[in-house]
């Protein structure tokens, strides 16, 4: 999925690819993803669609005069459900791309949710992170990073810098994934070869197939472009 090449100048492409990579990374760290938000959205949406389908079928079979009365209620119910769906997407989901919790020996049971957003034509990824810290309080973090950090010049997603960004900026992820925290992934990974050794192997899946070329090219390309931006 992440291995597909995207158009680097298309902000929606950048955002969608990154949105898809986020749950992949977190579930590889043994975060358990909760699909509650998506499931409610699907339930609301498909109920509305089913009502419209029934109305369509009844109208097709029986004609207008016989269905007139029920069509009124169907229209009312349809737009109520549609309104609820809109409210759910704008008021409750608010761009959440991940919600879940982790039960890890180093942190215990903690919850985490990440919402992402971009401004139109601005290639900067903004995330709002809510997580429980060591004291059990809910903390909110707002982070931003240019997409050039984890997309190479050819439009391939490079997992490692993205994971390092999350692990170093979000304490909870850093505790669960200490190898990516310092930014010096290889040294840390080989230094403590305990239970976490399995994780980098799993992450290979999300790297691009052209790993050798792209991850080499990424840092230089990133640097020069960011330099020009000032």
């Amino acid at each position: 999925m992440a291995a597909t090449k995207i158009a680097v100048y298309s902000v929606p492409d950048l955002k969608n690819t990154t949105d898809d990579a986020l749950p992949n990374y977190l579930t590889s760290l043994k975060f358990k993803q909760s699909h509650f938000l998506t499931d409610v959205r699907l339930a609301l949406g498909y109920s509305a669609v089913v009502i419209a389908a029934i109305t369509f079928y009844a109208d097709y079979k029986l004609g207008w005069d016989k269905t007139k009365y029920w069509t009124f209620w169907a229209v009312l119910l349809y737009f109520t459900l549609n309104g609820a769906l809109t409210f759910w997407i704008w008021g409750v989901e608010k761009g959440k791309v991940f919600a879940g919790e982790v039960d890890h020996p180093s942190v215990g049971r903690k919850s985490l949710s990440i919402a992402s957003s971009v401004a139109k034509y601005t290639p900067i990824y903004n995330i709002t992170v809510e997580y429980t810290n060591a004291e059990g309080e809910t903390k909110t973090l707002r982070l931003s990073s240019p997409f050039t950090r984890w997309f190479d010049n050819d439009g391939f997603f490079v997992a490692r810098p993205f994971q390092q960004w999350l692990a170093s900026e979000i304490p909870l992820i850093g505790q669960v994934d200490p190898k990516n925290k310092g930014g010096d992934a290889k040294a840390a990974g080989s230094a403590n070869g305990k239970s976490e050794v399995a994780v980098p192997v799993e992450q290979e899946k999300y790297d691009t197939p052209k790993k050798t070329t792209s991850s080499d090219a990424a840092p230089t390309g990133t640097k020069s472009r960011r330099g020009k931006r000032g």
């Binding site: 999925m1 597909t4 699907l42 498909y46 669609v49 419209a52 207008w64 007139k68 169907a74 737009f79």
Partner: protein
Amino acid sequence: MLGGLQPRQLLTQLLNFALVLSTAFMLWKGLSVATDSPSPIVVVLSGSMEPAFQRGDLLFLWNRGQDTQVGEIVVYNVKGKDIPIVHRVVRRYGGGNEPLQLLTKGDNNLADDTELYARGQDYLTRSTDIIGSVIGYVPFVGYVTILLCEHPWLKTVLLGLMGVMVVLQRE
């Protein structure tokens, strides 16, 4: 492209497509309920009402208030024919306690519509045959519909394009 998606992502994409279609349909039905007409917007298909209406004009109908007067332009369906006709009321019978009956004629036609009605029918019954009175119109925009009607394959192409776009594209 679709193969790589998670089931929930796939369902969400399909939902977006289904919502576009169903919302369009339910808006139409909502308008039907509001105007009490099975077909609240129609397109003029013939030149029989020139110069009032041209081919391709879009008409908005209202079907509440059943006391139709002479001079009103109505849209009616003839039993056994499924093309609605837009013509002007030229005579009315009954009304009040009796069922209202109407005779219509196209402004651009020489004779009244008796020829167009079903066999043995000499007038229209207001409550069953009429689907609404014209309350407004937009010239020319209905031509798209005429094109779609005359070339039905265009409909399939349009629907297919819409589907492909909504399913494959995010944002």
